[in-house]
């Protein structure tokens, strides 16, 4: 019952808000507080390894079921916390954006849908909330209703819909393969018809991958996240894309965590690894080239999602020994949510005061925003993986996982490890750039309309607090959440894997420090040489390619239609002309009543008589000289 109530609370909040008319209260805060308390209290059993399930007994083909295991619990609490923190921030911020009421409603509905996805007990229910989430969050993106927002939102919606359709088709295939509705939280599926199972998984991968911003399906993400109002961006980047990751985790569950995969699904691990690596690389490269703070953050969301997908891939690849990858992913999901939200909120604070998000037009803001600068700095430290903050913990775990995979000797994995480190350098470089250009250096902007507000500070402060706590005591989370989650997914060896893990070893710390140093150097070089202003030709970027492909598709559709129109109209008009000509000819013969034959013209009655006598003669001759039987039979028999 709790599982239904959780998503219902924000939904009811939205209804209340709609019912209240023009009056606006901070309903998201209320709702997410309740959810946070209720969720962390109610789901404590799930953390302890006792899943909860619930079913709404509807008649017919759709019986929504709900479940909560440790994974769900982690995600629910994370979502509630993030919403709670952002809803402290939002009221003050949204005074600048306007339409605060619709924003609240949309926030609440999205929260409801997101919670629904996490507590869904079968894939139909999951898909239901997944689609609802798409629609609700669509209004976030389109909030400003200007041209850019509409384009981005449309793009977002289209991609999400495509993702939903992929999942739907995947459902059909999986349903055909396993002979029942695929459920969540019940471990790997046994498939009867192996033909469709891998296809179903691939479609799930694509569908959830779109939501997770997986390359090459990430094109919508930077636009959508940067154009939404900042609290929404924070939640989009912090949590909504994690829904995709959640989906990928559950897809992995269908294939089977912690076990040697069947030959048909063995590609899943390496596949995810490759996709994750690509995502990391593409995200970070693009982020380096951005000048807009929000876009930079958005591209980093892509890149960080790459880490998560990579972790999942490694976890699947290693099978029973893949605990580190899986736990690293889950850990990174949480961490990324925290620091990415904080970063977006910080940028939002600056935006409120300066109305600018272009990094090159900002500078020296630490004077005006001292607290924000400190909190942002913490978040930057977090995302770059500096020891002592939360990012370090999860990245270390992921790195362990990747190293283990590399130890398997597969060349692919060795390269993945190298690239993993390279991406760390890029991340550091781009965030050094962000922080330097924004808060350090010379002040460039003329005037600042608004300074810091306590709501902003409190919201970011809470996030930073959790970040630091995790950073200082990384094992806390691993023991409390990551291990139960991994075990709930079927990773039996997770506890044993984590037992041997020590975060504070010299090797890892040194590696991180070297990465940081390299990153800062790279950033310095980049800023000096103008490397970051490089804009690659359109066809080289995925985005450009995507756009071109889309345009091509549009033109192709248009030309198909044109072809059809020209063909059909010309064909029809031709036929019509012929028909009219024939009609005219018959009609003319009929009305004129004259027939000229051999110099003599027969008019009217003579013609009639001529026809009559001619018919008689024809009949007589037909029988006598032309064998009428075969003559008439021939055309008829041909038509049989």
């Amino acid at each position: 019952m709790l599982l239904v109530i959780l998503p219902l609370i924000p939904f009811l909040g939205a209804l209340v808000l709609i019912g209240m008319g023009e009056k606006v209260i901070n309903m998201p805060f209320v709702a997410s507080s309740i959810v946070l308390i209720l969720g962390s209290w109610g789901l404590r059993g799930a953390f302890a390894g006792m899943p909860i399930t619930y079913e709404i007994p509807l008649s017919g083909p759709f019986n929504p079921t709900f479940q909560a295991d440790a994974v769900t619990a982690v995600f629910v609490v994370l979502a509630a916390f993030l919403w709670w923190a952002v809803s402290i921030y939002a009221p003050e911020y949204m005074k600048h954006e306007g339409r605060i009421r619709s924003f609240y409603i949309c926030t609440l509905l999205t929260q409801s849908a997101v919670l629904g996805v996490f507590v869904a007990g079968d894939l139909f229910t999951l898909l239901l909330f997944f689609e609802l989430m798409t629609v609700a969050s669509f209004f976030w993106v389109i909030h400003r209703w200007n041209e850019e927002a509409i384009r981005a939102a449309y793009f977002y919606l289209f991609f999400s819909i495509v993702g939903g359709l992929f999942i739907a088709l995947g459902l059909v295939f999986i349903r055909a393969a396993i002979g029942g509705v695929p459920t969540i939280g019940t471990g790997p599926a046994t498939f009867l018809d192996p033909k469709f199972f891998p296809w179903g998984l691939a479609l799930f991968l694509a569908g959830f991958g779109i939501k997770a911003g997986m390359v090459p399906l990430h094109l919508w993400l930077p636009h959508a996240h940067s154009v939404a109002p900042t609290p929404a961006s924070a939640l989009l980047s912090g949590l909504l894309i994690k829904v995709g990751a959640y989906g990928l985790i559950r897809t992995g569950e269908l294939a089977g965590w912690g076990m040697e995969l069947a030959s048909l699904t063995r590609w899943l691990g390496p596949g995810l690894t490759i996709l994750g690596t690509c995502t990391m690389l593409v995200g970070v490269t693009a982020a380096l080239l951005q000048s807009d703070a929000k876009r930079l953050l958005a591209y980093h969301s892509v890149s960080q999602m790459g880490y998560i997908i990579l972790g999942l891939g490694v976890g699947l690849f290693l099978g029973p020994a893949g605990g580190m990858g899986l736990m690293g992913s889950i850990y990174h999901i949480v961490n990324h949510a925290l620091f990415k939200a904080a970063l977006f909120l910080g940028v939002g604070v600056v935006y409120v005061g300066t109305k600018k998000t272009n990094l090159y037009e900002l500078g020296g803001l630490w004077r005006s925003y001292p607290v924000t600068a400190i909190l942002m700095f913490l978040a930057v430290l977090g995302i770059t993986g500096t020891p002592g903050l939360n990012g370090y913990a999860s990245k270390t775990m992921l790195h362990h996982g990747v190293s283990e995979a590399a130890n398997s000797g597969l060349p692919l994995m060795i390269w993945v490890e190298r690239l993993f480190n390279l991406v760390g350098v890029g991340t550091t470089a781009s965030f050094t750039k962000l922080f330097y250009l924004m808060f350090l250096g010379k002040p460039k902007q003329e005037k600042i309309t608004q300074g810091e507000r306590w709501q902003f500070q409190v919201a970011m402060g809470f996030l930073a607090l959790v970040m630091v706590t995790i950073g200082v005591r990384p094992n806390l989370f691993v023991d409390a959440c990551a291990i139960p989650a991994a075990q709930a997914l079927g990773m039996e060896g997770a506890a044993a894997t984590a037992m041997g893990l020590s975060f504070w070893n010299i090797g890892d710390i040194m590696g991180m420090v070297i990465t940081l140093a390299l990153g800062i150097t790279f950033c310095w070089v980049g800023l000096k040489t103008g490397l970051f202003h490089l804009s690659p030709p359109v066809w080289l970027t995925l985005e450009g390619l995507g756009k071109m492909a889309f345009c091509q598709l549009q033109t192709a559709l248009a030309s198909i239609e044109k072809l059809y129109l020209t063909l059909s109209t010309s064909l029809l008009s031709d036929l019509r002309a012929r028909g009219n000509g024939l009609l005219l000819a018959i009609h003319r013969l009929d009305t004129s009543g004259t027939l000229t034959a051999g110099g003599r013209s027969l008019a009217d009655i003579s013609l009639s008589a001529g026809v009559l006598i001619g018919t008689l003669i024809f009949l007589i001759l037909a029988y006598t000289y032309i064998d009428l039987g075969s003559y008439v039979r021939l055309p008829l028999s041909l038509m049989r």
Binding site: G60, F130, F158, L169, F196
Partner: protein, 483 residues
């Protein structure tokens, strides 16, 4: 027994009564129309109650020595229920839409007559009565198509009649052949031709049937009348050319596949393997052409062409799940398409805008309308809170289970293109300056918006709880696959 007669008569009598009241005030006329429509719907529901509770209603006789019968089976009942229920919505919408239009008497009279004829199509228990009502439907709806009475409308009417009659001709020949081969035209005794097994010429017969009914079902390339017929008033486009009339064609094909040939015989025929491809082609081509249309109603029309083939595709899979999807799509698509058309009609009536490219800002003026329109658009794509997801799901499942998995892909691709087709429309409606738009305020808004929103709500409800109509779908599938 009396229910079925009363259901058929209420529309007919109502139509005649309306026609004989030239001087009646709008209020009186509307009351009468509503009364007769409700009566028809109620009796249809009663018929459905009997059929679904396992009863049999049969009414048979002879016309000119040819046996006819009215015997609703589950399929017919489902169709009848769709017709009866949606007719009510369209009637209420008409009160709003037609409030300031001329020639209301003709309109309502033929609306009611067409109602009873459409019910006749649904309830007919033999090919002959099906053919009779199918033909009559053309004539009963013709005055509605040419309601505008301008040149364009008349041309559209000619095209409509011509296509329909040619189709009916093909059906007539096919029926005669069937009569010769099977000796009977009654559906009650199982598939008519099944007993004879395979025989030469069976493929031609199927082709004739499909071509004949395919005219109304707007299978490409027999679809050209449909976009033209969009000249009719919007309730008519919504009801007839998105639902009732085109469904009569679809229903005919379903009947042919499952009641005349039977799925076992179909499965043995080579020709039936080609049919899903025709449907698949229509699905894609229709929606692709729809994306290029600027006039909203035309866009919807081409989209209708595409969606109707979903149902046919489901039928042609010859698999229980495919049929279930087809039946479910009949139900769910009709609710959503009517919503879309109603929305387009309200926009046209209230702002005189018919082109998508002109619709900037309309959404702010008519928020409820465009919200419903948006919901229905999402449904057409096949997103979950809407009922069309389930139909699409079962269609895909039927395709996969029936060994025709490419068509699952076709459905998904069509979903993508649907998104391309409708999302810009909805989004465009909300762009532009929301304050600087004039508004004509034609018709009665409340009466138009209420059914629209209600239908969208029903669609969502059915999406969340498909079990509400599932017994009907199951009954249909069982009636054909489990004997």
């Amino acid at each position: 027994m009396t229910d079925i007669i009363l259901a058929l008569l209420s529309g007919l009598v109502g139509g005649i009564v309306i026609a004989l009241l030239p001087q009646a005030s709008n209020r009186l006329r509307n009351t009468l129309v509503l009364l007769f429509s409700v009566a028809g719907a109620v009796f249809s529901w009663r018929v459905a109650g009997t059929v679904f509770s396992g009863g049999t209603i049969r009414l048979s006789g002879e016309i000119a020595g040819l046996a006819w019968s009215l015997q609703p089976d589950p399929l017919g009942t489902v169709f009848g229920l769709i017709v009866a229920t949606l007719w009510l919505f369209a009637t209420v919408y008409s009160f709003g839409y037609m409030a300031d239009e001329p020639r209301q008497r003709t309109y309502y009279a033929f609306l009611l007559i067409a109602f009873s004829v459409a019910l006749g199509v649904a309830f007919s228990g033999s090919l002959l009565s099906l053919y009779l009502f199918y033909e009559l439907l053309t004539f009963a709806t013709y005055p509605l198509v040419i309601h505008e009475r301008n040149d364009e409308a008349i041309r559209a009417g000619v095209k409509y009649i011509a296509y329909s009659l040619c189709g009916a001709g093909a059906i007539l020949i096919a029926i005669v052949v069937t009569h010769g081969w099977a000796g009977s035209l009654d559906f009650a005794g199982g598939p008519l031709l099944a007993r004879g097994g395979l025989r030469p010429g069976l493929g031609w017969l199927l082709g004739l049937y499909v071509a004949g009914f395919g005219v109304k079902a707007a299978i490409m390339p027999l679809h050209r009348w449909l976009p033209e017929a969009m000249i009719a008033p919007t309730p008519i486009s919504a009801l007839l050319h998105a639902v009732a009339v085109v469904y009569s064609g679809v229903y005919g094909i379903l009947r042919v596949v499952y009641s005349v040939f039977g799925h076992e015989l179909m499965a043995q025929m080579n020709f039936s393997r080609a049919l899903p491809w025709v449907a698949g082609f229509t699905i894609l081509a229709g929606v692709i052409i729809a994306t290029q249309q600027d006039v909203l109603k035309r866009r919807l029309a081409y989209h209708t062409i595409s969606q109707l083939s979903y149902i046919l595709l489901g039928a042609f899979t010859l698999h229980p799940w495919g049929l279930a999807g087809a039946i479910f799509h009949m139900i769910s698509y009709s609710t959503l398409k009517i919503t879309l058309f109603f929305g387009a009609g309200i926009v046209a009536k209230q702002t005189t805008k018919i082109r998508v490219s002109d619709m900037g800002g309309v959404g702010w003026q008519l928020p409820w309308t465009m919200a419903s329109f948006g919901v229905a658009s999402l449904g057409m794509i096949g997103m979950l809170p809407l009922n069309t997801f389930w139909s699409k799901y079962y269609l895909m499942r039927g395709s996969v289970a029936g060994g025709k998995w490419p068509f699952a892909l076709v459905l998904i691709i069509s979903g993508f293109i649907n998104a391309l087709c409708f999302l810009p429309t909805v989004v465009a409606a909300f762009t532009g300056d929301r304050d600087q738009l004039s508004r004509e305020k034609g018709g009665n808004v409340t009466l138009m918006v209420a059914p629209t929103v209600l239908l969208a709500g029903i669609a969502v409800l059915l999406g969340l709880w498909p079990g509400l109509v599932w017994p009907g779908v199951e009954a249909v599938v069982n009636s054909f696959f489990i004997r």
